[in-house]
Amino acid sequence: MDWMLDYAWLVPALPLLSAALIAAFGKLMPGKGSELGVLSLAVAFLLSVGIAWETFTAPAPMEPVEHAFEWSPLGGGFVIELGMLVDGLTAMMFLLVTLVSLMVHIYSREYMQGEPRFTFFFAMLSLFTFSMLLLVIANNTLQAIIGWELVGLCSFLLIGFYWEKKPNQDAANKAFLVTKFGDVGLIVGVIVLSVPMFGASGSPFNILELNQAAADGAIGQGTIVLGMLMIFLACVSKSGQMPLHVWLPDAMAGPTPVSALIHAATMVTAGIFLLARLYPVMAQSLLVMSVVAVVGVITLFFAGLVALVQDDLKKVLAYSTVSQLGYMMAALGVGGYTAGIFHLFTHGFFKALLFLGAGSLIHAVHSNNMSDMGAMRKAMPHTFWTFIVGSIALAGFPLTAGFFSKDEVLVAGQYWPYATGGLVFWVGLAAAFVTAFYMARVCFLVFWGESRSHHPPHESGRQMVAPLVVLAILSIASGYIGSPVWDDDNNFGTWTATPVLAEADYPFVADDELGTGLQGGGEVLAGGAQGQAGSASVLAVEGEEGEGLGAGSILHGPPSWHLDVLLMALAVFLAAVALAWRIYGRGKPEEDPTLNMGPLTTVLVNKYGFDDFGYRYIVVPVRDHAARWASWSSNVVLDGIVAGAGKLTRDAAMTTYRVLDQKVIDGGVNGAAFSAAWWSERLKRVQSGDVQRYAAVLVAGVIVLVVVFAAAR
């Protein structure tokens, strides 16, 4: 089965093929092209399963499979490569992306039925899937940029799918421009990080070589901090971290399957993925790690609060996505590499489920608003059960997928020997309460109480329900491979670890700090927590069972039970649900207390004023003031100088002509002529022809001469 890894490039190639075929022939097909998308994704998914199995069962840490070919020279002996890098992380993302995409393709066949531009929609879904997979499989950062920007384009086109309405156009533009702003960071970061790699090989963008060089300490701190903070900026915008999350809730203007695939399960996790890919580089700088952690913590808490005051079901889920992405980011910032991507993995399934469930509800009542729903459990039993499963997974109910992964994020915070660790743990726990509360609110308002729908709701058809059931099963099951229940050498942690990660360490962690950090980490049931002194390895995947957290690993190797965390999480969950039941149990949205919290509600409804601030202090000054100033200065000032120079030349020419030429020179010429005429006029009178007068003058002349000569003597 080894051959499967070598053919991993087929996984992105298939959706590209289907995108092209749908665009070219989709309208001629009986299913208007949708069957092509489903078929290609089904094959890609099966391949991904094979690849996942290969990488999962390989002895850890698995040596990545890398193939690349020279795509183009770039000058100076450098080349652009197009390549593939297949390891556990790639395989994990493949599995997530192809599965969710397949589910969304199937679901959309029914959901989008009768929509205009149905074929375009499927072409774009396939193109998006290709772009995402191109990013995931990239063996170099330049290729990652290409995939990264292409997913942005697909996202833009799909958010603006209903482009007849202005709010949808605005949402699409906002999404593209905010993420494009982040791309500045990606481009600069990739460029900065390529500089120390110039000597290494022809392709300075190679990811494995970059990671290795960073782990070897061959890259200067300044380069790492600048490069990684720049790349982090891109991750902030793409993965909806505060304050650049503003586009994500607006992106809900797109069709709901798009929200599920792009704006919940896959594209928005690209930032998390990219940081995970470059984790050995990031791990070199405490500053970078801390910034990532703090941004993550702020996001996970404050975005969750906004979800409390939303009536639009998709908006609740959008803010929830922002919050959960904050968890992932925070985990990466406190050394929780495995925890972060494990949460990415499980979240992909249950959040896609919730969005598709929301789509099913919206399809039934023709409204996004919870105030138009109510008592939906009776009319839509399948949607109801699957939605509940997704909700408890998101809320972190014990033994669901979300429980295990969120638990690991919190534990990662506990182990981290710096202040950000505690922050992640305690704020994360508090936000878990908020999460459970707003999801309970949604469930009670939507499924309990009286029906407020203006249409009689009906259960969706098979093509929509089947994906819900599949995702519901995964919302429970996907958590186990990373859980202590999975009592095996091969688990999520070993699967997604890479050899560089296993070797790498945190250069800023001193041995003694480690000890205290671990002591503060609380009890660890399995494996024993007696941290031995040693280097602070980024991963301790090689740690054998029973030894557990030996070798002072900051990140736990084999997953273990953390009874204290489990109990706290359970208590938080029960408290939140109980409180929500007290308030919303009767399903009356008009009595919603979250809307009556005075100034706090105002702040939350205004989304902390970020959107307003961005519009007023960034969009308007640039689009209106600076642009007008530039145009004015070009048309008036610069062109004025040119026109002035032209006018000056013309004036000088005119002056030369009128004064110098016409007056002075020509005047001189004319003057000579005039004076000749004047004199001749006067002199001609002498020539009178009168002989006597001539004789008189002659005599007078002789007398004068005589007098003169006499006087001279």
């Binding site: 795509w71 000058g75 100076g76 290409i146 292409l150 500045v184 600069v188 390529s194 062109d639």
Partner: protein, 511 residues
């Protein structure tokens, strides 16, 4: 054709359009359609010949001159008729013939008032010889003659077939460029005498490892810089461009953006850098700063425009800024980026001007507010094309616009020579601001698309029958549309051709 001996092929290709212009002059003016078809045939045959030259070109040896003709021309001043192509010339030469051919096809059905295809197409063919000659001339005098030859037909194209302010725009274009090229000519003369008054040959002067000392090179570079910077145009010498573009007929705009602007950047690379390397090194940081100002400033100006064509014209200022940033990097990657950016901008912006022209044909206005949206409803195919080309122009990876921009920024992070040590921080800042420019670029294009493409058409157009893309438009546009994709997916098409020639050229600059 053997590229070592078939110098005649290049000469024939070069003067075929000129001969064609003479031929057109013989056809009676009343045979309107026949004249247009004759022009298509002439440009088509020329293009076919250039395609054959391209096919015969020895890509393995792209660094050396091929199809060389080098004969004594004006022996009294040592001027030679020296034409040839290498990997740097070839893409631009090819683009010139392709665009002119497509313009001739487009003119079959589109010609603005006052009509008169005989004069119009004759001028276009004359222009073609001038433009093509600039890219293949390897003698400074010959280069200068071709350079100046371009001005005249473009002056008449704008001045006679242009918009309402055509006279102002054409005179401004002509005088500004002419004025600047005087400085260039003076610099050429200075170089000639400094090098011993023996040769005008660009390869020989390049091989001299710098003509004159640093002071001489600085002054000579200043003169050349002014001549080329106006043509590019670099900020703040760009103000002729929006007027010329806005007033020019569609074909004039396409050729102006597609080829004429590239003459400036090509001149920098072919002449200024290798002959005056020390002068270039001294000027490079300033060129970089002006380039990045141009990127930001041009994009801001685009945001403020209400005329589609003027907006596209200003977008050229920003895009050419990226090209100049590549040159300012003074390394191989930067030159590669600049040359790639040249081609990509020529294809994309040429296409954008085609689209703007056709928009004007239909709406009889180019005001964004008057068009008012809904083109995707009224003319879905046209709307899709506009979206596609706009997205390419904003630098989306996978399409042509990306490579020039990214590579220019990448090259600028480690500039050549001693620039990295002396100005490392400055260049990092240039990279960051150039990257911010890409956001502004995305901003004005998306806003443009939102205002003309999306939404419902306003009442005044709702019942107006507007043609979607016509057959003749498809024929003249499809090659460019395909090229936009092909260059994005196979950047090797240009990078690969240029690689050896750029290495060769930069060996003169950085030693």
């Amino acid at each position: 054709m053997d590229p070592q001996t078939a110098g005649w092929a290049l000469v024939v290709a070069l003067f075929l359009p000129l001969a064609g212009a003479g031929l057109l002059a013989l056809i009676p003016a009343r045979l309107d359609q026949q004249i247009r078809r004759a022009a298509v045939v002439i440009t088509g045959v020329s293009f076919a010949l250039v395609a054959a030259i391209t096919a015969a070109f020895d890509f393995g040896d792209a660094g050396t001159l091929q199809f060389v003709t080098d004969v004594s021309w004006i022996s009294a001043i040592d001027a030679n008729f020296h034409v040839a192509i290498d990997g740097i010339s070839l893409p631009l030469f090819f683009l010139t013939y392709l665009l002119t051919f497509l313009c001739a096809i487009y003119t079959l059905s589109n010609l603005p008032a006052p009509g008169k295809p005989k004069g119009f197409l004759g001028l276009m063919l004359l222009l073609q010889t001038g433009m093509a000659g600039t890219f293949v001339a390897f003698d400074l005098i010959l280069f200068f003659i071709f350079w100046e030859l371009v001005l005249v037909p473009m002056f008449f194209m704008i001045g006679m077939w242009g918009g309402p302010r055509r006279e102002y725009a054409s005179v401004k274009f002509f005088l500004y460029t002419l004025f600047a090229s005087i400085f260039m000519l003076v610099a050429f003369l200075a170089i000639y005498f400094q090098a011993g008054a023996e040769t005008w040959s660009i390869p020989e002067l390049s091989a001299a490892a710098g003509v004159g000392g640093t002071t001489f090179q600085t002054w000579a570079f200043l003169g050349i810089f002014f001549g080329f910077a106006v043509k590019v145009p670099m900020w703040p010498f760009h103000t002729w461009l929006p007027d010329a573009h806005t007033e020019a007929p569609t074909v004039g705009s396409v050729l102006l953006a597609g080829v004429l602007l590239k003459m400036g950047t090509y001149g920098f690379i072919r002449i200024a850098l290798p002959i005056l390397p020390e002068g270039a090194m001294r000027f490079a940081p300033m060129i970089g700063v002006l380039a990045v100002i141009g990127i930001i400033y041009g994009s801001l100006c685009c945001l403020a425009q209400t005329d589609v064509k003027r907006l596209i014209a200003f977008s050229s200022v920003g895009h050419m800024g990226f090209v100049m940033l590549g040159i300012a990097a003074m390394n191989e990657a930067g030159i590669q980026a600049a040359l790639f950016g040249n081609i990509a901008h020529g294809v994309i912006t040429g296409m954008l001007f085609f689209l703007a022209g056709s928009m004007h044909e239909r709406y009889h206005t180019r005001e964004i507010g008057v068009i008012g949206g809904g083109m995707l409803v009224k003319m879905p195919k046209y709307g899709v094309l506009l979206t596609y080309v706009a997205v390419a122009s904003l630098g989306l990876p996978g399409l042509a616009g990306f490579w020039g921009e990214f590579a220019a920024m990448w090259a600028a992070i480690s500039p050549g020579g001693d620039l990295g040590d002396a100005y490392g921080g400055l260049y990092l800042g240039l990279v960051i601001f150039a990257a911010i420019g890409t956001v502004l670029t995305a901003g004005y294009f998306l806003w443009l698309l939102q205002r003309v493409n999306l939404g419902q058409p306003p009442a005044r157009w709702a019942d107006e029958p507007l043609d979607d893309v016509l057959r003749i438009e498809w024929v003249s546009w499809v090659p460019l549309l395909l090229l936009i994709l092909a260059l994005g997916v196979f950047p090797r098409l240009v990078f690969g051709v240029q690689d050896a020639a750029v290495t060769n050229l930069m060996s003169f600059v950085t030693g």
